[in-house]
């Protein structure tokens, strides 16, 4: 294995840059700003506002070409983009000619104070380069906050965009992305490693006490930025091929834990409708471009939105270690508040969802804001030939299924199921909602499920 090094390179707006001696927790945002590229701004430092958005050139799943993805650079540790190509807002215009998205934003009155504007421009540029106008996602800009405009002129600018224009980034996307690079970076008494195989990742963890695995860094990055937590050794799982598989058999789909939510959406063409309805509720595109399913499960947040969905789909998780791997039901994965069945050095490698998928399934999320918010309560209800499953988040220390309520629901007894929830769940009150509201929602969403089922809505 390579020895530790104190330097690496990346490509910034098409120019090679050497990084030397910077602490591993340096964010991509702070770095580009230190290079005089101050278009990207820090608005929140926790991936909520998108003012720091930049483009990453990434490999298109299953294709021999690249895609550009907008990500929150405040949540990208600089070593995570070693060997990769980054474009900032300054890199979108060429030879003094503005990109179409830039002209559209200016002409539509899409900027007022201008502080969020570079982030919107970057998100919009990525979506224009993703597909033709008929297939664009109007919510692609949902991870960018603007406090001035009320969004209407930005929407108009977005809707005015034509087909992907020619340009150096468009040309660049015709070729594959740069392959991942192995990294053992060390500076300021902290390390950041990028292993290129599962075995290497497991060995690295075994050799490095106090190491933490990291994938999209959308959770650890928040802790780093807001609480100044410093991780002495991070092992990135982003480039471990065994964790990026997506396999589908007649019996199941198996989703690599280090696939981003965006990649899963692109790969899983046969996904049940409940997955498509869940995906935009999970997080903004800016987050989905970095966040992984494995990360969301392994943080074991009681309000992580993937758990209710996957519990209702009867998922299991595969856990890898140097001794081999084991498959356990997701119900046994969550052991307590932010505690999982993962032993030190183990890696959550994939999520297995059995087939056939439930014939009816709905995911409900109650939050203050309709999108890009953390759940007050999330409920996923699935009905299959084997009965009903009800999985909830936000109502206990862990995401959970309520088997007693499932029995009632399997027999079509909603009131019985509601009563079972009532005496099983003991939610807490916090700034997202009172305990009484949470319990009321858990019950009410069952009623909503029935009403929908009966065609009342």
């Amino acid at each position: 294995m390579d020895a530790d090094c104190a330097q690496f390179r990346l490509s910034l707006n098409g120019t090679a840059v050497r990084i030397h001696g910077l602490p591993p927790q340096t964010t991509l945002l702070d770095f580009v700003r230190s290079q005089g590229l101050t278009g990207a701004k820090e608005g929140c430092a926790e991936g909520e506002c998108g003012a720091c958005a930049v483009l990453l050139i990434s490999q298109s799943p299953g294709e021999n070409r690249a895609v550009c993805r907008a990500v929150n650079s405040c949540l990208v540790p600089l070593p995570a983009v070693a060997g990769r190509e980054v474009f900032t807002v300054e890199g979108l215009s060429e030879n003094g000619t503005l990109a179409e998205v830039q002209n559209a934003m200016a002409a539509a009155g899409g900027s007022q104070c201008g502080y969020c504007t570079p982030g919107f421009v970057v998100s919009m540029f990525a979506e224009q380069h993703r597909c033709d106008p008929d297939h664009r996602d109007l919510h692609a800009l949902g991870g960018n906050l603007c406090r001035c405009t009320g969004y209407r002129p930005i929407r108009d600018a977005f809707l005015s965009l034509g087909h992907t224009p020619e340009g150096r980034i468009q040309q660049r996307l015709l070729e594959p992305a740069s392959p991942p690079q192995r990294l053992r970076y060390r500076a300021n008494n902290a390390g950041f490693s990028t292993p290129l195989s599962l075995d290497e990742a497991l060995r690295l963890a075994a050799e490095t006490p106090d190491s933490r695995f990291v994938a999209g860094n959308t959770d650890l990055g928040v802790v780093t930025n807001l609480r100044d937590t410093r991780f002495p050794d991070l092992i990135s799982l982003q480039a471990v091929p065994e964790l990026k598989h997506f396999t589908e058999t007649p019996d199941a789909v198996e989703i690599g834990a280090a696939l981003t939510l965006t990649e899963i959406g692109e790969r899983w063409q046969t996904a049940p409708p409940v997955f498509r309805e869940w995906l935009p509720l999970f997080a903004s595109l800016l987050i989905r471009n970095s966040a992984t399913l494995g990360g969301n499960l392994a943080t074991a947040s009681p309000i992580g939105d993937s758990a209710p969905l996957l519990l209702a789909l009867d998922a299991a998780v595969r856990i890898a270690s140097l001794q081999g791997d084991r498959l356990i039901p997701l119900t046994e994965f969550f052991c307590g508040y932010r505690k999982t069945a993962l032993n030190p050095g183990e890696i959550l490698s994939s999520v297995r969802i059995p087939k056939p998928f439930p014939h009816t399934a709905r995911f409900f999320k109650v939050a203050k804001r309709s999108l890009d918010d953390i759940s007050t309560v999330a409920v996923c209800i699935a009905i299959s030939g084997r009965g009903a499953r009800i999985a909830l988040g936000g109502v206990a220390a862990t995401p959970l299924r309520v088997l007693e309520a499932e029995d009632f629901l399997s027999n079509g007894d909603i009131e019985g199921a509601q009563q079972a929830l009532e005496h099983t769940l003991h939610p807490l009150s916090d700034h997202r909602g009172s305990a009484a509201y949470r319990l009321a929602m858990a019950k009410s969403l069952l009623a909503k499920f029935r009403a929908e089922h009966e065609g009342q809505i």
Binding site: G36, E42, V89, Q102, A107, G110, S111, H431
Partner: protein
């Protein structure tokens, strides 16, 4: 005409204060030592250990202040280095270091000992403890008690009104450095450079001519940088004074939210008497605002609430009294609307209650109470152009198909058990001027160069509202040049002194008029030169030829301009006068849909008709209307400030405090400006637009109440809808339970 910085915005070239950071070698980063208590005595403070941290250069504490260590704008009640901390996370000392990381590590090593004291965290507790910054403030007209008692109907009630975080995308930031001749130069993201200059001079104990404060642009402000930019500039300047090095103070979001003031939460108690047809006879109103730990601008905010508790309605007898509560929270401050929204929401709440009580349509009760031409407000000002209220109302009802949609919604609600829709129309009347009359002045300095290019300096600051865009048009038209020939300069106290804050929606009215005054003088001089040249046979000269000729004839090509708003006055002792130059009017129609299972809701359509006078920049003005409306929608439905039992802001970040985002934008969003509305006595005949649209969002809140009422239509109790603000899904859900039972 698009925003004058639009190209710089979209390319990322537009600079904000913190973008200048890399330009200053040797710059030090400042980081505060934060109190872990909301109220405590600071028993001891030892900064020395911080100096042992590698990279730490200096610490700042009370003994480092050469002048007065207090940044309070009016009452001097904001110690920079307190002996007694009065809100959670209040800084007690600062550490300066070569890197931000070192400054944070240094701050963690400062030793501070506290004796916790009891704290007050709610308006109710403040009232219980009689903990007030000021009050009672009172405006009275007639005998409201008699009027209410004699009325055929009366009701009383209460309303809790939440505050609002500004969440300007650019957080507070200042960078200071020594200038070239013994003074200090501060780049500050401030709406009020002159006051920031005053506070820096005060803290350093030096005359103001040694302090220059400049602001290139802000990444949003909304009132949050009217006075609250001052302490950070003062700390940066103090650091520079001590170390002789550039110092940067930048609050990251979580710290900005923990330390800086917000829109005031209010609590209102009221009693109203009214006729069978819904017309008001009299109102008694008590308003309590949560001022937080220091006075700040809380008095004028409360006064504006008292001025605006009528909104667009004639209240024949009124007794409105207000108090500013002192609590152990952030010091609440200016925020778009400046108390106006908190006053106006109460009358809108009351009118809907009256309508439901009487079984009348709320829009009928509203229009029956409108001010008419010749009516006078409760503070004695004639309501100029009062007929515009009804004109806007009628035109908007037609353009929005209000009556037909009301029918359609009633039909929808009859056929849908689990979702209901609501529709509402609400008016806005908003007084324009600083209520402290002396603030209504502005200056400008216009420099024309021999090549015909122009620099315009004025006292206003650009925070995204498009002030510079409008000023550039005013100057270009006044001088007769292309807008491209006019460069708007960084706002700086060494160009125009003694300026007022860019606030009260009056930035263009005041500074635009001052710029026009300066341009007019130059234009007059040039006209003289032109006439002389014409007499000599030289005709059709370009502006540049004219300016070169003027220079050679020794005619001055620069001028200062000045403006003061005419004919405004107010006597706080009698609470009467003419505090406002004019009123801005508008109205909005909103349609919402509520999910009865959860209380979640969507705004389906919004129609707005706004009186902007003769618009100087329609793209800018439409942007202000839409942006203000959505910000108001956020305040009323989404944004929730929650302090925990220790006084810590529990919704203190973007993940817990939710702004309106992309999906909150109504799918149908029609905005129009009132025609034939030029405003005499205002620059270009335009009208202020910064604040008034925020209050158009009452239409959303009232539409939500309309939809809630529809859920209760079949229940015997169907009627008054009580709903505190903000109308979050949870509050709506509980209101639905009340309506159904």
């Amino acid at each position: 005409m698009v925003h004058e910085s639009a190209t710089a915005h979209v390319t990322g070239e537009a600079l904000y204060t913190d973008d200048l950071l890399a330009r200053f070698p040797g710059l030090l980063h400042a980081w505060p030592v934060l109190s872990p208590h909301a109220h405590a005595l600071l028993l001891h403070l030892n900064c020395a250990p911080a100096l042992e941290e590698p990279g730490v250069v200096a610490t700042l504490a009370a003994e480092d202040v050469p002048g007065e260590g207090n940044s309070g704008a009016n009452r001097h009640d904001e110690p920079l280095f307190p002996d007694e901390v009065t809100f959670h996370s209040q800084p007690v000392a600062w550490v300066l270091a070569d890197s931000l990381e070192a400054a944070k590590l240094g701050a963690a090593r400062v030793e501070a000992g506290y004796k916790p004291l009891p704290h007050i965290l709610s308006i109710a507790d403040a009232i219980g403890a009689q903990s007030f910054h000021s009050g009672p403030h009172r405006i009275q007209r007639g005998n409201s008690t008699e009027a209410i008692d004699a009325a055929p109907h009366a009701l009383s009630g209460e309303l809790h009104i939440g505050g609002q975080e500004h969440f300007y995308l650019e957080t507070q930031c200042a960078i200071s450095r020594l200038d070239d001749s013994g003074g200090i130069l501060v780049d500050s993201s401030t709406q009020h450079p002159s006051e920031t200059q005053e506070v820096v001079a005060r803290v350093l104990g030096i005359p103001r001519h040694l302090v220059t404060v400049q602001c290139l642009r802000m990444g949003g402000a909304f009132g949050g940088k009217e006075v609250q930019a001052n302490p950070w500039a003062a700390i940066a300047a103090l650091g520079t004074w001590k170390t002789q090095r550039p110092v940067r103070v930048r609050l990251p979001r979580w710290l900005d939210m923990a330390l800086t003031g917000k829109r005031h939460p209010f609590f209102a108690k009221f009693r109203a008497g009214f006729e069978d047809d819904g017309r008001l006879r009299g109102i008694e109103l008590q308003l309590y605002s949560d001022g937080g730990w220091s006075l700040d601008l809380s008095d004028p905010v409360l006064w504006r609430a008292l001025f605006h508790c009528d909104n667009a309605y004639l209240i024949p007898a009124l007794d409105a009294t207000g108090w500013v509560c002192q609590t152990n929270k952030t010091s609440q401050t200016a925020f778009r609307g400046f108390g106006g929204p908190q006053g106006m929401i109460v009358i809108e709440d009351i009118l809907d209650r009256i309508a439901r009580r009487l079984g009348l349509a709320p829009h009928l009760v509203r229009e029956r109470n409108f001010y008419r031409e010749g009516d006078v407000t409760h503070y004695g000002q004639t309501v100029k152009d009062a007929s515009r209220i009804a004109r806007i109302w009628d035109e908007l009802k037609i353009s929005s198909d209000f009556d037909q949609r009301r029918e359609a919604i009633a039909q929808y609600n009859r056929t849908h058990r689990h979702t209901k829709r609501g529709l509402a129309i609400t008016p806005v009347k908003f007084g324009i001027s600083f209520t402290a009359t002396f603030f209504n002045q502005a200056g400008a300095l216009v420099l024309v160069y021999r090549d015909g290019s122009v620099q315009v300096n004025h006292g206003g600051t650009e925070m995204g509202q498009g002030l510079h865009t409008k000023i550039r048009r005013i100057a270009a038209e006044a001088l007769g040049v292309d807008p491209e020939a006019v460069r708007i300069m960084t706002t700086s106290t060494d160009k125009v002194p003694n300026t007022s804050a860019t606030a009260a929606s009056a930035g263009t009215d005041l500074n635009g008029a001052a710029v026009f005054d300066a341009c007019r003088q130059i234009k007059e001089r040039l006209r003289g030169v032109e006439q002389d040249l014409a007499a000599e046979g030289q005709l059709n000269l370009t502006f540049a030829q004219l300016t070169e000729a003027a220079y050679r004839r020794r005619v001055s090509l620069f001028a200062h301009g000045f403006y003061r708003t005419p004919d405004i006055h107010f006597d706080p002792k009698t609470a009467t006068g003419k505090p406002f130059h004019y009123f801005a009017y508008g109205a909005a129609v909103a349609e919402v849909e509520i999910d009865g299972f959860t209380g979640q809701n969507r705004t389906l359509r919004v129609d707005i008709l706004q009186d902007v006078g003769d618009s100087l920049a329609p793209v800018v003005d439409r942007g202000q209307v839409e942006g203000g409306f959505i910000q108001g929608l956020g305040w009323l439905t989404l944004e929730e400030l929650i302090w925990d039992e220790n006084g810590r802001l529990a919704t203190g970040g973007a993940s817990t405090y939710k702004l309106p985002s992309w999906p909150e934008m109504p799918p149908v969003f029609n905005v129009a400006f009132l025609s034939r509305a030029a405003e005499p006595d205002v620059i270009h005949g335009s009208k202020a637009i910064g604040e008034p649209p925020l209050m158009l969002a009452f239409a959303v809140r009232e539409a939500i109440r309309d939809a809630i009422a529809a859920f209760g239509a079949d229940s015997p109790s169907g009627g008054v809808v009580t709903l505190d603000s903000p109308a979050t899904p949870e509050r709506i859900f509980w209101a639905l339970q009340r309506a159904a039972n």
